[in-house]
Each structure stands twice: as structure tokens, then as C-alpha cells.
Symmetry: none
Subunit: 193 residues, 4 copies
DNA sequence: GATGAATGAGTATTCATTCAT
DNA sequence: AATGAATGAATACTCATTCAT
């Protein structure tokens, strides 16, 4: 059957991505071999190269595939209507929603981003870039005061992202979304809003 | 001449550690080759093995050497006198002091710790373990209220550690210690203290 | 063409075994490098590891492959019908037959056996174990007299195996099988049979 | 004290030889590292090179030191007075005497001799060369009959040397010298003398 | 004589990638 | 699309040997 063959192909790629993701998070990209990936996905090693140009390309594709929709979401939030705190909440809420759907993927995204620095094309909206622009604007309008925006961004980023690390290391129970109100409360206090 | 007296052996080991540290942070342990290290330290590859049992042992030694004194410091803080906020400030202050002395080393310690999970012997005091015990005690005495201590720990950890990441990626200017008052203010607000 | 059909994989493994055998006998296992083997077999060094887990595994497989059928043969002789001298003759005759087919292989087996002691699983029939059991039984039935069986076994083993060494060092002309009658005559004299 | 220093040197060389001998027999020359030897002899690795030009030279010296007096003994026996059987007995007797003094050394000599072929200078009297010349002469004088001398030599060599192997593998109890009469009886029977 | 740090060539083994089937 | 044998460059690590002290 034709559809069977079609699906086989699609499925194979999906299996490769899923297998690779687990391994990349577990042992890091460099320490994961193509053999590991092929075995976990139950395909031949050569098959990886039917779907991806290289191991690196596979790693990058997983990152981009996840990050780029979120980046677009962040760009929309930045340009949209709303107060500072509403925009921060929208960003964090979406991050936790995505994280809860696939925690492994987002831990991968978080470490990939810092580990390999900015493999994301320059100009892409990142949590850092968007938060920074929001805080700077709010400082200008007097919405917040007495704060170095760059320091503020890092404090906020830490508050939002570190709980995700907690979930992966089983210190915090999934899902993360229900924690949003508590975290937002803390953020509001920090910003005195 | 004074410099003439320095032992060759000690110097070589020190050069290896310094070269490895830079490379480990830059590209990760797995992606750093013994050849890289030897070239950077300007010694023969074989020389690495006169001072360390393996590349892994070198990586572990760098971590332990840095982390274990800080861990002992944390343990002393935990058992010592003082309010919650004083203890948090003491821990963070010491961390920033050490970080400012050698930012690379402490970025390495932070990533090594999470990357390879708990290569630190079980029972060792970590920022997470100490903060958790402090918050739990404070919750019991009513010093703080309405907070899941585990979530609280991750929020605080994020607030303290993320600025260090900012320094390494050149978003925040070193040194970090002068930022302590601002960060402690934010923490006090979060804890409503 | 018929030769076209031969599987590449099988051939490669066979070429590796043959190349390794020559080198192992010539210079010993330890002194033979994987590079030597690969060059002699005209394959890449990495190819060795597609067929064998390690150099040691290759060495062991060659030994087992040759020795284990002979060991089974010895076990059958031991349990079968016949006089002492008939059984000794059967064992020696089979050894010489195999030796004449591939002298190198059997020199390898002889040295491997003693060199690495008993890599052969315990309980395997060896020339020593079988001859010893035969001599002990014959001593009990009175078939032979006045002899320490253990000393006797070593004398007989030396008589049977040392001529094979002579062939390899070109002191005796191959094949060895035609020498069997003379050697058996000597053995009969020693045993006074 | 002067003599103390002198003896220290001599002792060091002796300790090196003894340590190396054990290791060479245990694991083979190639598989024995200079580090192994230095550790076993409790000296620094560099010290080996005060006493020997190379690891190979050390291995060769051990062999020559043991073998060459025996070789001279064999040459004297060959040229001396006596019947065939007396000369064989003298050779074997001396071999067993030396073997009993230091079994390890003589196992080493036996394997070194065959392993590295003829590192002994050409023209040196070896058990093989002497036995061959004796048997050939005896065949000419009619002392023995109906025998290919080369085959005969290998049979006799096997009968004499294999028991030594038995001792090393703990199948036969040391010392070997008391076995000489039984072995000579067997040899006499083989030669019909 | 003795040391032990240092070397550099070499070792077994791994691995991302290719390619004929 | 998929396979898996083959590759060759690279890897962590070893080792006999040297040499300043």
C-alpha cells in the first residue's frame, strides 16, 4: 500500500527525532553517537542520512523546529498590546504550556541555546531580547523604576526558567503551568507592580 | 632568581588545568580533545597522563577543587547563626566573590553540576540542598508564608545564578559583587521580608 | 561469473582471520598491531571492529574455532571403544591430519593454549586431560605398569607435539602424517606395548 | 660506606633482572611494560636504562646469561668421551639441575629460544644441534638403526623438555631431577638401547 | 647511580559518514 | 527509503626512552 510506505518514511524521521532528543538531553550532543541514535530508533545507521545531512543538522533541526514558533510568538507579544506584566505573563505562560507538552524538548532547547551560543539566526526574538526590550520601554515610561534593565532581565529569566530545570531533575512535580500564578506573584513583587 | 625556583611539575599541572578549563567551558568536556588541551597548555599529550588519570579525572578534579570549599562554606552557613535573609545573603555574596575571582571556573562548576548531575558525593551541601533546608525551616517558624519551599528554592536559585550567566555572555559587566544589593532587594521582595 | 556471487562480508572476515593468523604466529599476539592486520588483509583498520569486538576477541576466535572441534574429537575418543594404544593413535593421527591441512593454525593453537593458559572453558577436553585419563585407566587395569601417569602424559605429549614444532621451523619436512608410524612405534616402546 | 654503594648498584641490577623475569614469563616480553618492571623492582623507570640499553637488551641479557653456560656445557658433552646414551643423560641431567635451581628462568629460556627464533648467535650449541649431531654419528656407527635422526631429535627433545612445562603448570611436582631415571628409561626404550 | 617529569611516536578503538545493493 | 559493510580520520590513552637534576 502506498500510504503505508509514505507513513513509514515520516514515521522513521519522527522516530529518529524522538530517539535523538532523549539521548541528546541525557548525555549531550557530542557524547551521543549516531550508533546510539540508530539503535534507539531501531533503524540502520545509514538511514539517519536519508533524513538529515549530519548529526549536527539533526541537532539543529530539533532546536529550530521547537524554538522558532516560540520565537515568533515572542515577537508577536513584544509588538502587541498590553502592560509589561501582561506581556511577561503571556510569554511565561506559553513557555510553560509548551514545556508541559514536552519537557525534554524544552530542556534541550534551553541548554542548546546557551551551549552552542546563538545558532539561532541573528535578529531572532529570544526570551532575553524580548524581555530586555520590554523592560527598557517600561523604564522609559516610568512603569518601573530604579533598575538596571539588563540585570532585571537576568533576574526574571532565572525566575521563569529555573523551575523548569527543577521539574526535569524531579525536584518539582510536572506540570509546570499551575505554578504560573505563584511565579507571577513573585515577579510582580520584584517589579513592585 | 625567584621565578627559577618554581617547580616545573606544579606549573605543568597548573597550566593543564587552566587550559582545560577554558576549553571545557568553550566547547564542553566531550568536545574537547586531549590534543586540544595539550596544545593549549604547550605540553605533549602524554604529559596529561602524568598528572591526571584520564580526561574525565581532570574534569572532575577541576570541579571538586572549586566546588568542595564552597560546599563546606555552605554547610557552615546552614548550621550557623542568623536570619533566613542573612544566610541567603552570605551564600550569594560568597558565590559572587568567588565568581568574580574566576568567572570561567564558576560557570564551569555550574554547568558541570547539572550536566553530570551529582558527581559530587551524596550528602555534600549544594546550593539547592542548603536553600531548601533554610526555606523549610523558615516556613515552619512562620518567617515566610504561603510558599511551596521547593518552588521557592528554584526561584531564588534562578535569581542568584542567572546573572552569572549574563556576565559570561557579556550582557552584564563584571564584577558581579556590586550587584548583590540589588539582587538581595529583589529577593527580599519575593520573600516579603 | 561465479566468483562474483561470493559475499563481500564473509570474505573480509576470512581475510582478516588469515592475515591475523600469520602475524600472530610470526610475532606474537601482543606484538601484532591492528594496523599490521588491516594492512595485511587490505582493509581499513576500522573494518576489524565490524567483525570482531577487539584484537583479543579475534585472537580468541581463531583459537576456539580450531581447537573446539578437535576438543570434541578428543572427548569422543576418550569415551569410545578401543585399547589405550589405539586411542593414542587416533588422537595423534587426527592432530597430524589437521596440522598438515594448516600447520600455522595449529602452531598457533599450541602456543595460544600454553601462553594464555586455559582460555578454553574449564571442562573442555584437552590433549593433556584426555591422555591423563587414558593413562590412569590403563594403569588401573594393569595395561601399563610402573609409571607415574602424570609424568607419562608429559613424555607422550612431548613426543607427539614436538615434531610439529620441527616442521614449522623447517627442520622436518611437511607433511607430518607419514611420520605417524615411526612416532607410534616409539610410543609403543615407551609404554612397553 | 663505599661497599654499600657498590652493592646497591649490583643489587639494583639483580632486582631488575628478577622482576623482569617473573613478568616476562607471566605475560610475555611484549606485554610487559618498563613501568611494570620498575614497579616490581621498586626503582624509577629511568633506572632501567642505567643498567640496560633497552627493554629488549634486558630480555636478551637474561636469556644469554642463562643459556650460554649451558650451551658451553653442551659443546663439551658433544666433544667428550662416552656413549650416546651417556651423553644424552649428561645433557638432560644438567638441564634438570639448572631447571630445579630456577624453573622460571628456564621456562623463559625455552620460550625465548623458540619465540624469537635464533637470537642466540649462529654456531652456538643448542640442545637441538647437539642432539642432532650425536644421533647422526650414532646412526653412522650403527649404534642405533632405522631412524630418521631429525625426527628422532624432536621426539627426544619433546620427552626431555615437556616435563619441565608440566612442572611450571603445576601438573608435575618440582624438583625435576628425581624424574631423570624414569625419563632416561623411556629414552633408552625408544632408542632400543 | 638514581630519579621522575616529559616526550612523541604509536596503540587499540570509535565514529560520522559514504555507497553499493 | 532503507540497509549495513566499509572507510579513514580522529580519539583517549600507553609506552619505551631521554634528560636535567
Amino acid at each position: 500500500m502506498i500510504t503505508h510506505i509514505e507513513k513509514r518514511g515520516t514515521k522513521t524521521k519522527q522516530r529518529l527525532v524522538e530517539a535523538a532528543l532523549v539521548l541528546f538531553v541525557e548525555k549531550g550532543i557530542a557524547a551521543t553517537t549516531t550508533r546510539d541514535i540508530a539503535q534507539a530508533a531501531e533503524v540502520a545507521e545509514g538511514t539517519i542520512y536519508r533524513h538529515f545531512e549530519s548529526k549536527e543538522a539533526l541537532a539543529t533541526e530539533i532546536f529550530i523546529e521547537a524554538f522558532s514558533p516560540y520565537s515568533k510568538f515572542l515577537a508577536r507579544v513584544e509588538k502587541g498590546e498590553g502592560t509589561l506584566i501582561e506581556k511577561i505573563e503571556a510569554s511565561a505562560s506559553q513557555f510553560y504550556r509548551l514545556f508541559d507538552e514536552n519537557p525534554l524538548l524544552w530542556i534541550y532547547v534551553m541548554t542548546y541555546q546557551t551551549g552552542e551560543a546563538s545558532k539561532a539566526p541573528a535578529g531572532t526574538a529570544t526570551p532575553y531580547s524580548v524581555l530586555l526590550s520590554l523592560l527598557k520601554k517600561a523604564a522609559k515610561t516610568g512603569e518601573i523604576k530604579n533598575f538596571d534593565p539588563v540585570l532585571g532581565v537576568h533576574i526574571l529569566l532565572g525566575m521563569i526558567e529555573q523551575p523548569a530545570v527543577g521539574v526535569v531533575y524531579r525536584e518539582l512535580k510536572a506540570p509546570l503551568s499551575p505554578r504560573l500564578p505563584d511565579i507571577m506573584l513573585a515577579i510582580r513583587r520584584v517589579l513592585s507592580l
